[in-house]
């Protein structure tokens, strides 16, 4: 008994445990600080630029009315395909995003009703993208579009 008490006196064990627990908390605080800094640091420090991707030939723009098209482009290693609408209304040509401004379901053009119809909660938009009915708070977004050398390009923020 005397032997163990000499080698491991009670007080030093208590001290050891106290230090052990304290360093545990110190380690936790350090890990949390490091995580916090990493989380707060912006994931992208370059300013994001508008990149134009080819969509189709100028000849394929509808004479008048709406055409559903798919834009395919590469982002990093991923290939992204998105549905959008090319609209020719009077003299205006523009591209509308297909995501409903309510909760982001994909709307479709109903030729029969002459409206964009959202399948989720009954949102409806006219040919210009303005809200006609349902919960959507905003018009369908117009996407940057340019026509160069007979090709239609759509701009996407990288």
């Amino acid at each position: 008994m005397a032997l163990t008490d000499d080698v491991f006196p009670m007080d030093s064990r208590r001290d050891f445990l106290r230090r052990f627990v304290k360093s545990g908390f110190g380690l936790l605080a350090f890990l949390f600080g490091a995580t916090l800094l990493r989380f707060l640091y912006p994931s992208q420090v370059r300013t994001r630029q508008l990149l134009y991707h080819p969509l189709l030939k100028e000849d394929d723009i509808p004479r008048q009315g709406v055409r559903r098209v798919h834009l395919t482009y590469d982002k990093g290693e991923k290939t992204i395909t998105m549905r959008l609408f090319l609209v020719h209304a009077g003299a205006d040509i523009f591209a509308l995003s297909s995501s409903c401004t309510h909760l982001g379901c994909l709307v479709d053009w109903s030729r029969h009703k002459e409206q964009f119809v959202c399948p989720c909660h009954g949102g409806k938009y006219d040919m210009q993208g303005n809200v006609m009915a349902g919960p959507p708070p905003l018009a369908l977004a117009r996407m940057p579009l340019k026509i160069e050398n007979g090709v239609v390009y759509i701009g996407i923020k990288e």
Partner: protein, 215 residues
């Protein structure tokens, strides 16, 4: 570090009043079951820390909430981890409060003079469930939206005033941006503050009344 702490403490005098509590002897009969409440409290701390972090990137608006949550999971560094921690600790918190309650119940630790602390404990459960309920709407996706449509519909079944209660909860007849913002405010401001207050009372009573005799 220790010296700096001592310097502050000699003026602020924080450790002396707590020394007796933090370093008191603990009855030998206590078991790990007595840790359940402490685990729940640890989860609350984790929720507050991860919640404060999420609130840096989360945008509580009709048009941007969903996108901002996507951005947290996909782009923000460690975003998915922090969001996952918030979600898991929210769920585990409910579990551990219930287990802690069970322990207190089986040990008959709710008997006088501890009735008020049982009541305080019940409030933490109500506050936790309310936080979970308001937090669930925040991702602003289909599941969140419809879950809240269904659950807020329930208050409209209250006789006579049901319809007005529904408008009160939703901030209008439908679930829209107004609902999102009031749920957000409750979730990150009102409920955590109330939780802090109730937990302070809870621990204060534990300190004053000591741990009960158990079985």
């Amino acid at each position: 570090m220790g010296r700096l702490f001592d310097w502050v403490d000699r003026r602020f005098s924080l450790s002396t009043p707590h020394k007796n509590f933090l370093q008191r002897g603990i009855p030998a009969r206590l078991s790990y079951l007595y840790c359940l409440g402490g685990i729940a409290f640890t989860l609350v701390i984790l929720l507050v820390l991860t919640g404060m972090m999420l609130s840096i990137y989360y945008v509580p608006s009709e048009a941007e909430a969903f996108q901002s949550v996507l951005r947290i999971t996909r782009e923000v560094r460690l975003g998915a981890l922090i969001r996952g921690l918030h979600k898991w600790s929210a769920n585990l918190l409910i579990l551990f409060i219930l287990l802690h309650t069970l322990r207190v119940f089986l040990h008959k630790a709710y008997r006088p003079p501890r009735e008020l602390n049982w009541i305080a404990g019940a409030f933490t459960l109500v506050l936790t469930l309310s936080s979970g309920f308001t937090g669930y709407l925040l991702p602003w996706n289909q599941k969140a939206y419809w879950a809240t449509v269904v659950s807020t519909n329930m208050v409209s079944t209250v006789p006579l005033i049901g319809r007005h209660l529904l408008y009160l909860v939703r901030g209008g007849p439908e679930i829209d941006g107004t609902t999102l913002v009031r749920f957000y405010s409750l979730h990150v401001l009102w409920l955590p503050l109330a939780m802090g207050l109730v937990l302070w009372a809870h621990f204060h009573m534990v300190k004053r009344q000591g741990i009960s005799g158990g079985l």
